[in-house]
């Protein structure tokens, strides 16, 4: 199971993985894995239009190139992206 988790979604990937393990344990989904795609928020300069690099968990106050104001984009995601599953449904076996 692939999920996308944004930096500003108030969801912590490690805790989500742990919760996934806990709720699937002892069920037919035990052993399935939750893959978290981390989506950082971007700070984009209003003036030069460039997104800025920054250290994880830290925030820039101004554009490091032109000192312009930054706006925040993205990072709000909490999406189910994709499922891949192994089927053992006999109906899917080739019929004689």
């Amino acid at each position: 199971v692939w999920v996308a988790v944004g930096e500003l979604s108030a969801v912590e990937p490690d805790l989500l993985r742990f919760a996934w393990e806990a709720v699937t344990a002892g069920t037919r989904d035990a052993g399935s894995t939750l893959e978290v795609e981390w989506r950082p928020a971007r700070q984009v300069c209003e003036r030069c239009g460039e997104p800025s690099e920054r250290a994880a968990g830290s925030w820039l106050r101004l554009c490091p190139r032109c000192q312009g104001p930054l706006r925040l984009e993205g990072g709000m995601e909490l999406d189910l992206v994709r499922l891949a599953f192994v089927t053992d449904d006999p109906l899917e076996e080739p019929r004689p």
């Binding site: 500003l8 108030a10 928020a41 925030w59 820039l60 104001p69 925040l72 999406d79 994709r82």
Partner: protein
Amino acid sequence: VSDVDVRTRILAANEAAANGLRARFRAGGTLVVNLISAPGSGKTSLLEQTIVRLRDRLRIAAVDGDIATERDADRLRQLGIPAHQILTGGSCHLDARQLVTALDAARFGDVDLLLVENVGNLICPTNYDLGEDFKVVLLSVAEGEDKPFKYPAIFARAEVCVISKVDLLPYVSFRLDEVRDQVRTLRPDGRILECSARTGEGMSDWCSLLEARLAAKRAGIAGAAPPPARR
């Protein structure tokens, strides 16, 4: 192995309920504010002072979320407005379906301003759309000036940030400029207000903002289509 592209919002069920609420509030011409903060930042005190100042001009109702006790709703009822307490029994936020249930039980009738006081928590309420017009985050000066950057999600989503208990500024280490700068970094188009429910400082700005937003919402309903909801 089968592969399925899903691409759906995990909180889609909450969002559907929130959209239902939004349509209901729009039809009723009700402005809805979702107040979020850490426990003890002064949400209820801010609401008390808001009610005292606006109750003669607006029909106000309140929904209070708490883990336990009816204290908050009782405090607001004493001011002569209808208030409904949602007891979450341990859950750390309100979701849209809880608000639907609460409104159905409360039967407030026609309301101009619905004040929703979320459970005291700067994290979990962030993700749950309640069909509100906007979120308000409160930060009291006693909590420390590092909070916006430590809890960026709620400060990025809240359109209004109320810095509360500013009457305590002489007694605490809290640089207002630093906090304003952090809040603006996370929400450049947001509004920052400094208030004290105790002295009344900033309360008229806050109340004017609510009245202006209510008037704008009603003008929008009478005129054009509503703006799309912000995620």
